[in-house]
Amino acid sequence: MNEHTPVVLVLDDEVQIRRFLRTGFELNGFTVHEASTGAEAIRTSTLRPIDLVIIDLGLPDMDGADVVERIRSWSTVPIIVLSVRSSEAEKVHLLELGADDYVVKPFGMAELLARVRVALRRQSRAASGEPTVKVGPLTIDLAARAVMLSGQRLTLTPKEYRLLQVLAQHAGNVVTHQHLLKEVWGSIHVHDTHYLRIFVRKLRQKIEPNPDSPRILVTELGVGYRLAQDPDNAWTPPPPAPAATAKPEV
């Protein structure tokens, strides 16, 4: 997958937004397909090889959430939604439906590109089965269940590790409170957000070089948490990818 230029499908009913997205993506080495309706996007995504889908939620023909659900029903292609502010509940809903991340309108191209690269990198890591996630000075080895900060091995409690593990599996993308609570404490605790608040604090004390100003475990207010991925550290087209993406030994 790393060998060709990544293909992005942009679904937006506003021609001006599609136009700047096309230019922005093409200048950064992407191939762009456009769709102005949900039906068209679904058709395109079944007919052509697509590496990533961008969906604007305000569509004329169908609900953006339906498009996410339909695409998710047969494909694991990364999906990033464009949403408006003050709709945290909607963002959470879309993430639960299978969207990988969101960007709030209006947004700058750099912001969107960072999200897109993170999502693509996660996809490629999942495909290659690469077991380590690096975030700045922090390294999480998912295979060995080991967490290192600047080369020092950290001691985490089982729940702390589980929390970090779930975040690392989605490294760079936001993970909702509900998802984290379900994965770490079980589905009966999905509304106990204070569990998360307390454990995130504890975890930050251990994994952040400066816990008072968290840079690794980032809060997405009202939505969830994100294990920050430096875009430079992520998969940057065109290949070759930076040295950080060490290939697993065969």
């Binding site: 997205l21 502010r85 003050s86 604090r201 809060t219």
Partner: protein
């Protein structure tokens, strides 16, 4: 009102008669004593005293009773033969007839005096009430205040619990002082909806056996609303009395309302509310329409700013950067307008959950990072802060507004200090700048909607909404917001207080090593 006073209630009469009997008995005792002592023989004239007293205090009936008893007593006790009703001396008979005549005349005069006195007193009270009522109407700002005034006026007139409901589709109770039984509310809704055109009034029995009378205030003018009057545990006869009184009171009230132009005032207040709603809707839809092209402009500007062909020419790059910044600013203004319309049309509905104050502060600083870039930021954030129960998004947005203001009104390169402190009852976020400060006049009005400091109107852009939005968002969290400044050009500190819940979050299961 006059009829109401003239119509002596039966209970008052009984009391008057009882007092009349007591008075006569007392007089008899005193006269009897005097006769024994001094040796007087004729006492009937003395019985004019209880008659006059009874007439002035309790009216005609008790005066007549006193007169009759006086005759009997003087006949029994003082005219020979004593202790018998028999009277032998014809002169004495004449005396008695004279006494009775005097008693009746005096009684009537006295009771008329009493009625007139009470009437004028009642008129005075009515006038005072009416004056207070018209004053309230004059200062009433909206329909609900007018209705409250009418309700209190009627309650004072009727001396009963009165509830007034505004009519029309939005029939809702004006003011609920105590519970109103459901059947009453249903009847009121029926009346208000106007589905029962023929009937003008109805009585409803509440669950507690109390009788309520429901009727429209005026048959001609539905704007005056529907009233429900608690008649208490009134009997059928009492009801008839009250009905008569109610008719008078309502007729008077309606006349007053007509004279004071209440119908007009209600219409005006409604128009004002409608204008407000329309304006909000307009702002809402315009802002929404503006945002879509703005997203294109902002996005395109960022693509341009990063484009390889522009990288070689710093002037073009700066231009593209400028477009982006202006679009950002415009977006903030639009967002503020949207927030403001949301606050005034729907109110703020907070989503309260356990939140980490550090998260809220970081998110706010993060959102302002671009704007804060040219200031020195000093963050003082203790790491043992308790969790709070709050809507973190609203608090973050309030903080963003305050940080934004600090940036706007303080010189580039100056320090902005952000501090969080937890105390017993509340947690305080404070933002201090070294900027324009506040004059006394600015301090007084800075939290009002669309208010901007006179000193800054020409130099700094803004909508005058930021602080108003911030205070609304903080208030929705049960908190408060305050400003402090040592004067113009001496910096400003804004304090944002939110309550701290003492109940700790539910305990977690232990999570030690397996």
């Amino acid at each position: 009102m006059q009829t109401a006073i003239l119509r002596e209630s039966a209970r008052d009469d009984v009391r008057g008669v009882v007092f009349a009997v007591l008075l006569v008995a007392a007089t008899t005792l005193i006269v009897f004593g005097i006769i024994q002592w001094v040796g007087l023989t004729r006492g009937s004239v003395v019985y004019l005293v209880p008659v006059v007293i009874a007439a002035t205090r309790w009216g005609q009936v008790s005066a007549l009773v006193a007169a009759a008893l006086g005759v009997l007593c003087s006949a029994f006790f003082f005219y020979p033969p004593a202790y018998s009703f028999e009277i032998t001396d014809p002169e004495e008979v004449l005396n008695i007839i004279l006494y009775v005549f005097c008693a009746i005349v005096v009684g009537q005069l006295a009771s008329r005096l009493k009625t007139q006195y009470e009437l004028s007193r009642q008129r005075e009270i009515d006038l005072t009430d009416l004056y207070a009522f018209s004053r309230r109407l004059a200062v009433a700002f909206d329909v609900s205040e007018i209705h409250a005034a009418i309700q209190d006026h009627l309650a004072a007139m009727m001396q009963r619990r009165v509830l007034l409901f505004s009519s029309g589709r939005d029939a809702s109770e004006r003011r609920t002082a105590g519970a109103t039984p459901d059947p009453v509310l249903r009847k009121v809704a029926e009346f208000a909806a106007g589905c029962d055109e023929a009937a003008n009034e109805a009585t409803v029995m509440g669950d507690d056996g109390e009788l309520w009378l429901v009727r429209s205030v005026s048959a001609k003018n539905p704007d005056y609303g529907v009233i429900a009057i608690n008649l208490g545990l009134a009997s059928k006869e009492g009801y008839a009395t009250l009905r008569g009184r109610l008719d008078t009171v309502l007729a008077d009230a309606t006349a007053t309302l007509d004279r004071l132009g209440v119908a007009h005032a209600i219409t005006e207040a409604r128009m004002r509310a409608q204008t407000e709603r329309l304006r909000d809707a307009l702002i809402g839809s315009v802002s929404h329409e503006l945002r879509t092209p703005l997203a294109s402009i902002l996005g395109a500007a960022t693509v341009l700013a990063a484009a390889p062909s522009l990288q070689n020419d710093p002037r073009l790059r700066d231009l593209a950067q400028g477009v982006r910044e202006e679009a950002d600013r415009l977006n903030n203004d639009i967002q503020n307008l949207l927030d403001a319309t949301r606050i005034s049309s729907e109110g703020v509905k907070p989503y309260i959950e356990w939140a980490d104050p550090a998260d809220i502060l970081h998110a706010a600083l993060d959102r302002c990072s671009r704007r804060l870039a040219q200031h020195r930021l000093a963050v003082d954030l203790p790491h043992d802060l308790p969790l709070i129960r709050a809507d973190q998004i609203l608090l973050q947005q309030a903080l963003v507004q305050i940080l934004d203001n600090a940036v706007k009104y303080s010189p580039i390169g100056s320090e902005i200090a952000v501090k969080v402190r937890a105390e017993d009852e509340h947690m305080t976020f404070s933002v201090s700048d070294q900027g324009a400060g506040l004059t006394d006049g600015e301090q007084a009005h800075m939290w009002d909607r669309f208010v901007r400091g006179e000193r800054h109107v020409g130099t700094t852009s803004g909508s005058g909404l930021g602080l108003w939005i911030a205070s609304a968002f903080v208030a929705a969290n049960g908190g408060s917001i305050a400003a402090e400044s040592r004067g113009p050009a001496r910096g400003t500190t804004i304090f944002l207080n939110v309550p701290v819940t003492h109940s700790a979050p539910p305990q977690l299961e232990s999570d030690e090593d397996e």
